[in-house]
Amino acid sequence: MKTIYILWLRQLKRYFRSRARMIGSIGQPLLFLLALGFGFGPIYQKAGGGDYIQFLAPGIIAMGILFTAVFSGIEIIWDKQFGFLKETLVAPVSRLKIMVGRTLGGATVAMVQGVIVLLISLLIGFRIQHWSLVPLAFVFMFLTAVLFTAIGTAIASKLDDMQGFQLIMNFLVMPIFFLSGALFPLEGLPKALEIITRLDPLSYGIDGIRGTLANGSHFGLGIDFLVLTSSTIIFLILGSYLFSKIEI
């Protein structure tokens, strides 16, 4: 437990000490909220969708979590390059514990990020519909955070340098975000797009957050929870496996 705690603490310290990273990672969600929220707002209203900010905010909260979580997982590449990973790998601690500590740390950081975006969206007009469901929303946020930190860890275990980072951003993180229903409703989509959104685990995270904080869950909260939990478990196992295979 103590080792998991110290690994968790390290991730948090690194995050809170890097002000540039905090500000940088708030900038993007803020831009999306303002530009898309107010830009598409009138059209969305005319189409009969209601308040677009109300729809968009949960998607952007999940986006903040997604980016921070994947990035936290990918940080292992830095640790490889700066040598710190060796220090943890020769210690008499199982790789599983290292992976769990890091993942929980990264997920906590991503969770903090999500809460910051939630507060920002409250400032620009987002209204929480069911305050009693807020704890449940936090559960969905945390599951999303753990899931994508584990995915980041799994990928980073296979990479040696940051060259692959752009590739991951453009071919994995961006598609996961844009094809998740963060920006548009999942009702009445073309068949192909519908299938893709159903395969995207982020869809369920966003749907869960939207269903608890705002109105209208598309899949149903039960399904959201089930899919999210099972994919989190799968990627935790995969991440642990790949992490345990690292040789340096």
Partner: protein
């Protein structure tokens, strides 16, 4: 302490990266309480050997016994037995000096009170106590090195591995650190296994020396015996006589090669 108590036993140890044989069936023993120098030109296989001894790499063939444990199957027992100072820096730049040591102490399960006492002692010894709350990224290369040495000793290991520990240190610091290590070796019987490119350092400090070149051990003996056998005045001359004058590939290219092989290897 008997002469026959072996703390490191290596038999026919081999490591292959793709088609490149980095270490070729080497065998050697290190007695408990010895100071053992592992010398060789760049790319000779020193670091690869240390990585196998310290559970970071799986040997392709051969066997290792470290403090009686097999690094492949008894990882945790092996890891508790040694401390290591890596060739490349391995500190967390975003943490303070104190936090780096604390992190290490927790991972090695050193109880809190003892941990605090030892961290203070060690930081004072490497003269970093007044900088304990500064982030490591503000430190110079020499200060980082000193901090790493302090960290390697924090859990009082039975064996201390040091891969070119004194690189980039001034003679004063080098002396200071070696005096402390010799003291520790004498008082606590800690076994020291190190690599270096400073031949006079190896000659002065090591009780036994193994010279490795192109993945093979070409000689293993006391410094005096090596000089005698090669009929040279100094270890440096003996070393050059044994390994030739040819300048070796830079370490970086050797490492790149390894990385490339490693990548091909993992992709299968």
């Amino acid at each position: 302490m008997t002469d026959h108590e072996k703390i490191i036993e290596v038999k026919e140890l081999t490591k292959t990266f793709g088609t490149f044989q980095a270490v070729k069936a080497i065998s050697f023993n290190v007695d408990k309480g010895d100071i053992f120098a592992f010398l060789g030109p760049n790319g000779a296989g020193k670091t690869t050997t240390i990585k196998m001894l310290t559970t970071l790499l799986h040997p392709t063939a051969g066997s290792i016994k470290l403090n009686g444990f097999d690094p492949q199957t008894q990882k945790n027992d092996t890891r508790k037995s040694f401390g290591i100072i890596f060739q490349d820096p391995s500190l967390d730049d975003e943490l303070t000096a104190y936090e780096n040591l604390e992190f290490h102490g927790v991972l090695y399960n050193v109880p809190k009170a003892l941990r605090e006492k030892r961290i203070e002692e060690l930081l004072k010894f490497v003269e970093l106590w007044d900088r304990k709350d500064d982030l490591v990224k503000q430190f110079s290369g020499g200060m980082k090195r000193r901090l790493e040495i302090a960290r390697g000793l924090l859990h009082h290991p039975k064996i201390l591995f040091m891969d070119e520990p004194t690189i980039g240190l001034d003679p004063q610091t080098r002396n200071h650190i070696w005096n402390y290590l010799k003291e520790l070796n004498k008082k606590e019987g800690i076994t020291i296994f190190f690599t270096t490119h400073y031949m006079e350092e190896a000659e002065k400090i090591a009780k036994r020396i193994a010279i490795i070149d192109q993945g093979k051990i070409i000689l293993e003996d006391t410094p005096e015996a090596i000089k005698k056998q090669t009929q040279k005045e100094t270890l440096e001359e003996a070393f050059i006589a044994l390994t030739g004058h040819q300048v070796r590939e830079e370490e970086a290219t050797a490492k790149d090669q390894m990385r490339l092989h490693g990548r091909l290897w993992t992709k299968r």
